[in-house]
Amino acid sequence: MDFLNLIWLIPLYPLAGSVLMLFIGRKLEHGHKNNVIGTICAGLVGVAFVHAIGAVVQLVSAPGHFFEKPLYTWVAGLQFHMANGALSRFTADFGYMLDPLSAVMVLVVTGVGFLIHVYSIGYMAHDHGFYRFFGYLNLFMFNMLTLVLASNYVLMFVGWEGVGLCSYLLIGFYFQKKSATDAGKKAFVVNRIGDAAFIIGMFYIFATFGTVNFHHVTEAARNGDLGYGSFVATMITMMLFIGATGKSAQIPLYVWLPDAMEGPTPVSALIHAATMVTAGVYMVARSNALFQLAPDTMHVVAAIGAATAIFAASIGLVQTDIKRVLAYSTVSQLGYMFLACGVGAFWVGIFHVQTHAFFKALLFLGSGSVIHALSGEQDMRKMGALANKIPWTFRFMAAAWIAIAGIPPLAGFFSKDEILWQAFNNEWNGKILWLVGFITAGMTAFYMSRLMFLTFFGKSRVDHEVEHHIHESPMVMLAPLGVLAVLSVVGGWWKSPLEHWLEPVFEHVKSVPATAVEAAGSMEYVLMGLSIGVALAGIFLARYFFLSNPAASERLAANWPGLHRLLLNKYYVDEVYSAVFVDGPVMGKQLGSALSAFDATVVDGGVNGAGWFARGTSSISILWDSWIVDGAVRAVGFVTKLLSFPMRMIQTGFVQNYALAIVGGVLLLGYYLLK
């Protein structure tokens, strides 16, 4: 089977599952056939994964490791003037592309997605709407795969919007809960703000390049069609990056991600850890040729990445809900990925996407396993001493814990350390960026260890009724955890081959001046040692505060109440946003109400008015038709009747009158003939 030529099938497998759920899902669930639903939906993702493997294997032997297949032209040939005055045609194809970058992404998405689908069969088994969950999850996979495999910005944006929609649907899955629906709305609205910027960036791209195809744009940028440091380059990349901050939860548009934990845990694992939130990183990496030409934007990207990393980590230090800690951890790790992109090490950002997908998905699924064991308890203050009671969950989560802390030889160490090394060498504030990342690494180790110690060790603070029901998760939930644990351990060992594999995508653009700074190789080992040291320090500090001497953490909180409250309340960012953008005088509710009133009266009024006008002119038309046109027709008949009346009288019935007429006619004829 030619996997590569049929690459457009990959997104369609999960779409088929979603459509199937739409039509027969409810019937299946009411017929107690949940295992059928699970097999179909998870199986289809598995098929997509196998197909993806086949396609990537074929890609390896393809020339230049590049494959593009336009299916058909979707938007064809609108002529327009480009920014430089040239006449061009805008086409957007329904086209799919596979190159090393999208190969990595598609494997991660389908692989981790498949594992999470399998896990969900067990996790969601007792929930109403089992079929709805899998339908949405499959729809999400379709959109994510469209995003990753698209060959142009427009089709990617279709997938981009689609995953935002599915995120909304899945966050608000328990729609009877107001907090869940609010969170879903918040996610979608905040996402939308980023999308607006993305669209502007897209418009700017095709005004400048005349095309939105990735390959053509990259070629044009590498050939020097875009000036280094030019205003155009900076604007395009800034708009794209703002779009990425919305999707990938960076400052200032990260506020939706912690609230998104209202959704079921597999959703948090798949969408808000492994796949959707990495779409922003993927997009920046895909546009790396453009970003390389805009050093100002790169600085912004690196700065925001680093700032978000440390900001979110600091909030995660004091959160009590196990999923919230993981959510802020995700925001923080995404900051690392953008930091990597911002210093020009795009491949490292993608590498961290991959390793993060493994251990973060594992952490989320593991926490789901814990929540499942504790009959729904999510507050870490009510956990403890679970290591012996749910041993396998503990062992697998421990693997992810060590990985995210950055201890070698597990996966997290390789990617995180490479990011810090690349940041250190950056010619713009490299040392400061490194320092921020370094401190964040320590905080990461600290809060993750805190999570593990509070949950699995120490004294049991579990509620009495819950304690009786603690049980290990079924195999269908543990097996994916196991696979992810193995991947978290070995996932970093292919760092160099991956760098080599991704080289052609992230070629250095010619017009960009090469950075001169590259500190001595031995410095790398020094930094490596420091990273490991700070990670171990974080772990031991957490052990002190939350295992050996629990009272110490409470004393610390009591001694610094202001800071503790600030962190616990997430720096009051949500409250500030609410006050400015929702209740605020300029941008808030009043503006919204005013605009909606404008829409209802002016716009709708215009539309209704057009309809009213049409009806009015049509009644005039009716009058014309029924009185004048029909009148003319009737008039003909009337005139005929009028004329016939005297003519009738000739026919008297008397034969002699007819004879008289004959005689009269003969006389007349005779007169004229003889004249």
């Binding site: 000739i650 026919q651 008297t652 019935g653 008397f654 034969v655 002699q656 004879a659 008289l660 005689v663």
Partner: protein, 100 residues
Amino acid sequence: MIPISNYLFLSTALMTIGVLGVLTRRNMVIILMSVELILNAVNINLVAFSHYWGTVHGQTFAIFIIADAAAEVAVGLGLLIALFRNKEVVNADQIELLKW
């Protein structure tokens, strides 16, 4: 010789009486008789001219007309008798159904 105009006056007078009879008389039998009168007037005219020109055409035509008149009377009377059997009328002004 008798001048031809005498014969022509005679036939004209007969013709006029016949036409007036057709137009004026009410009894249908009298109308038929008036039609015979017209035909005979034509005959006199034809024979007069035949004598005048010295040919025989006029007389031949006159004999045709006599035969034709006989047939016509037979048909006409047949119509009249059929009408009388149905409607018991003898006056022409009593048959006026085919009118406006």
